[in-house]
């Protein structure tokens, strides 16, 4: 017999033997009840059903989890990309239709979206606040000048609107790039632990991204946003008073109230700006020396809290990077002036999109609370400074 024939015979013999062994196994007794019952350990199929997945999950569990998580993050990433592209297109179209620039602004705008800010070194944190303020103001001033250069006949209101939309698109661009970076790095290195913090942060990032996308429409139409509730309340108090400019995009006025002198300050509306309240406060202080400061601002609500609910407290109610708050606290501490705060609660989305009815309706209650604080904490012949903090788009005074 040739070698080949011998091999073939052995192979057939093996097959026959395997077939016999297979037939010996009692597959006929297999039923779902038996398969999953804990008392019957004799069925080899049951043994395989339990053992094989355990091995698969032991060896490939992390990788399976990585694939599932990756697909979730990938969906989020696609959404972020569409938000960025949509808002970018909206901004370009808005500029083209309202400003009618002589040349196509697309390439210039694409350059703005890539702007970055390098924070000062904090190895020695002493004196870091003025450095941060300087850098942030350089960015603000430069962006404003760049927007101004888009068209010769651009109004102050349009500059402020476009600057705000530009910031929204740049933030969406940053979100997209950062998420994509972590996602691709984790995939490239099959690094599951790297993708976990990203998975945890994704809902927060997506919430803010959705809010920014919706905010663009409010900015385009010049509608007041949730954050504008502070300027809205103080703006109402400033009606029928003489408004004077005190700092960049910031106005103030005076009024008598039950024998007291009241000073009001807010960003100059209806432009989309937060003004420079800290600079304004320093100047008003040098001139009027108020006995108390009352700040009104929007504040982020905790989950479960009602939109438009009001809370009173102490300290400088002002958001942002922290430089304005630092400056206000410095002045108040130096002169030993108490700061009272009233906040109107809302979510991050409500703060940067069209003001909701619940928020707008809180204005009258907050106004009466401000007067109550002034009555309770000042005597006649004393004075108080009331500051409406926030973006004053769509809110005049």
């Amino acid at each position: 017999m040739s070698n080949n024939c011998l091999k073939r015979f052995n192979f057939l013999k093996d097959l026959i033997w395997q077939k016999k062994f297979f037939l010996l196994l009692d597959f006929n007794a297999t039923s779902l009840d038996k398969l999953f019952s804990s008392s019957d350990n004799s069925n080899p199929l049951m043994w395989m059903v339990w053992i094989i997945p355990i091995f698969i999950f032991m060896l490939y569990g992390q990788r399976i989890q990585l694939y599932i998580t990756s697909s979730d993050i990938n969906k989020g990433l696609e959404k972020l990309k569409s938000y960025r592209d949509d808002t970018r297109k909206e901004l370009i179209d808005y500029i083209k239709t309202t400003l009618k620039p002589s040349e196509d602004p697309t390439s210039k705008l694409d350059r703005f979206f890539e702007y970055f800010t390098i924070m000062p070194s904090d190895m020695d944190p002493n004196g870091i606040v003025p450095k941060i303020r300087h850098i942030m103001r350089t960015r603000e001033d430069s962006t404003r000048d760049q927007v101004k250069s888009l068209s010769q006949n651009i109004s102050h209101l349009e500059i402020s609107k476009i600057t705000n939309i530009l910031e929204a698109v740049a933030t969406l661009q940053l979100f997209y790039k950062m998420v994509r970076h972590f996602f691709l790095t984790a995939k490239k290195q099959n690094n599951f632990p790297l993708i976990l913090p990203l998975q945890m942060m994704m809902p927060f990032i997506m919430e803010e991204a959705e809010a920014l996308k919706i905010a663009v429409s409010a900015f385009k139409q010049g509608q007041p946003i949730g954050d504008g509730i502070g300027p809205m309340i103080v703006g109402k108090m400033m009606l029928d008073t003489e408004k004077k400019s005190i700092a960049l995009e910031t106005v103030w006025s005076e009024k008598d109230f039950e024998g007291r002198k009241l000073c009001f300050m807010k960003a100059e509306g209806p432009a989309a700006t937060v003004g420079r309240p800290a600079d304004a406060l320093e100047k008003i202080f040098a001139e009027k020396k108020p006995n108390i400061i009352v700040m009104v601002d929007a504040a982020l609500k905790l989950e479960g809290e009602d939109t438009g609910s009001i809370a009173q407290g102490f300290g400088a109610a002002i958001g942002g990077i922290g430089t304005e708050r630092f400056q206000i606290e410095e002045v108040a501490t130096k002169h030993n002036i108490p700061i009272y705060a009233i906040v109107i609660k809302q979510s991050i989305k409500e703060a940067i999109t069209l003001m909701k009815k619940e928020i707008a309706d809180s204005s009258d209650i907050v106004s009466s609370q401000i007067y109550d604080i002034i009555r309770a904490n000042t005597s006649k012949d004393q004075s108080a400074l009331v500051i409406g903090v926030g973006n004053t788009i769509g809110v005049a005074q």
Partner: protein, 61 residues
């Protein structure tokens, strides 16, 4: 999905209020509206001025 969020759609409204008789008028937001913008004379009391007192979004049901 159990935790799927409902999509919120807001309709924007402007509230005009007479500074003299406090009569209010709710209407759809128009581009160019802003809070404390002075509008035409009040049709109800004839001597007061209408002013936009609020602009807000209401959920579309």
């Amino acid at each position: 999905m159990i935790f799927r969020k409902k999509k919120e759609v807001l309709d924007s409204y402007s509230i005009e209020q007479c500074v003299s008789c406090n009569k209010t008028n709710k209407r759809k937001f128009k581009e160019g509206d802003f809070i404390f913008k002075t509008m035409e004379k009040c049709t109800s009391c004839a001597n007061g001025q209408m002013m936009i007192s609020k602009i807000f979004g209401e959920l579309v049901k």
